[in-house]
């Protein structure tokens, strides 16, 4: 573990322990798998509760608590993002619908598995932390839309829809993602959000940009300055534009 990771891990650990004290019983549902957190709490898996069809959704859900920490339960937060992909609608829908392939453009998502209609998501956070959650597909119209809702164990109950429609004049397919979630509020949500720490709307847009790249060119476009491809966090903490050793 590098020094930087070590420090990040320690910060994570401190923030989490504070959050856990304040959250009390709710944390029975939140198990964090950061290496240091594992040592501290002794439980390897994590469920940070937010569910979404984009990996960013989970982060977005929690991150938005930072922006609106006082939001009351039930008030909800909405995020929108859209992109035009120069591919036929059925192809775009089919690619998205194979959920296990979503990590190819959702860089935070390590894996997606589907068992009995429930998708199980594992996402990567900073300092080796992982976040897991379940989501249920509630509507699925071929070539038109996919809707989902988090299961009852979610810390930040949320739902979302991705719609596909023909772009005018043969321009391909318009993809629109709409996320809605009810952040948990309070300091616990805030702490988790800070750990995940990226701008939620930017992150959903970045997912869609990479989706477009993968659909149109077959690859996530990378530069030496941004070797993981489009990622909001990298745009804030840049490395020099020179080859990675």
């Amino acid at each position: 573990m590098t020094g930087e990771h070590q420090r990040a891990s320690e910060r994570l650990s401190r923030a989490l322990s504070g959050a856990m004290e304040r959250m009390g019983p709710a944390l029975e549902r939140v198990r964090l798998a950061a290496p240091s957190a594992v040592r501290r709490f002794g439980r390897p898996a994590a469920v940070a509760g937010a569910a979404a069809a984009t990996g960013a959704g989970a982060y977005a859900a929690t991150r938005a608590c930072v922006r609106r920490p006082g939001v009351a339960p039930g008030e909800g937060v909405d995020l929108h993002a859209a992109v035009t992909v120069k591919c036929p609608r059925d192809q775009v829908y089919r690619f998205w619908h194979r959920f296990e392939r979503l990590p190819s453009f959702m860089t935070h998502v390590a894996s997606v598995t589907t068992i009995d209609g429930i998708t199980h998501w594992t996402a990567r956070g900073p300092a080796g932390m992982t976040v897991e959650w379940d989501a249920k597909i509630v509507e699925d119209l071929r070539d038109e839309l996919i809707s989902w809702r988090s299961t009852s164990t979610a810390l930040a109950p949320n739902s979302g829809t991705v719609r596909f429609c023909e772009a005018p004049g043969g321009r391909g397919t318009e993809v629109r993602v709409h996320l809605r979630y009810d952040p948990p509020g309070g300091r616990a949500g805030l702490a988790v959000a800070r750990l995940l720490g990226e701008h939620p709307e930017q992150q959903v847009r970045d997912d869609l940009r990479r989706f477009k790249q993968v659909m149109e060119t077959g690859e996530v476009v990378r530069s030496e300055g941004s070797p993981e491809g489009t990622r909001a966090l990298r745009q804030l903490k840049r490395r020099p534009a020179r080859p990675v050793r």
Binding site: E216, G218, V221, R222, R242
Partner: protein, 389 residues
Amino acid sequence: MKANCWMGRGDVEVRDVPDPRILNGHDAVVRVTSTAICGSDLHLYDGFVPTMKKGDILGHEFMGEVVEVGPDVRNLHVGDRVVVPFPIACGRCAACELGLYSVCENTNPNAGLAEKFLGHSPAGIFGYSHMLGGYPGGQAEYARVPFADVGPIKIEDGLADEQVLFLSDILPTGWMGAEMCEIKPGDVIAVWGAGPVGQFAVAGAYLMGADQVVCIDRFAYRLRIAERAGATALDYEEVDVREALLDLTAGRGPDACIDAVGMEAHYANPALYAYDRTKQATRLETDRPYALREAIMNCRNGGIVAVIGVYAGFLDKFPMGAVMNRSLTLKAGQCHVQRHLKPLLAKIREGDIDPSFVITHRLPLDEAPRGYQMFRDKQDECNKVVLTP
């Protein structure tokens, strides 16, 4: 490998860095045989382009030999000699399909950053800030070329590096400026800037049938090179540009005007120059638009003003009244190099143009810092520097 790196404002340094490697299936790695310092590199050197990072490898005009190809590149092979266009384009998005390669929708991984400055993101560019992708440049011994199946053009005959190197940027950039002018017989074209891009715009305008091309600058040695391309030279420190243009066109004004890279333009009026220079230095505006203002004010009614090369962000005192009330057409664009490569290579091969006429200095890559300084400070009549790794 050795590479010329941006180390801060007014500071470049040739350093040892890791060799590039293939990151994606459509990549190739090129061993650079010739690379050039572009006038637009001076804007980075002077610190006027945001989002540079210490250690960034510079350079977007380069050519060389393919030494490695990714599994998805089928049109290039190890050993091929190629010139690489400065904008990186995927060749598959809607913009690329329209031939608008420099606004490719997929090649800027930092598109979100560019959107904050520019509204929407253009394509990624080699060695030209993180806002435009964070790609290392070609002032190095080796360079990774993304979408190598789309950009590079193979040079299969005996043309020398110096004859084809400028296909990478300045030749098509100047050419595109002339093309934007929609030149018709009898047209008088005015070009602000007698640097290499302006010199190629002059040459291009004549090849497209202009009756007369006027070139405006303040450096005699640059104007002399533009004159060799056929231009009528105007030194704006010696003559009143407006009077001269009115006289040349008998009161009409030029049919089209080209702003050949006016981002850091100078102006003969010291008070106006000081106004914009101060605003630029304090970052209240990123660009100094004298050339552009003058081009707009002098263009004939109903004419075209073409803006090429570099503008970074915002500028002041833009004469929109002239544009609107006099039915001017303002055209602008970063060069869509890919679409000009084949036609321009054919013109070089047929002898219509030999772009090597702009070169004044040849240096080894190690001396890149001296090249930058000399080029910026206009020492030794420096017009264009070619570096050899």
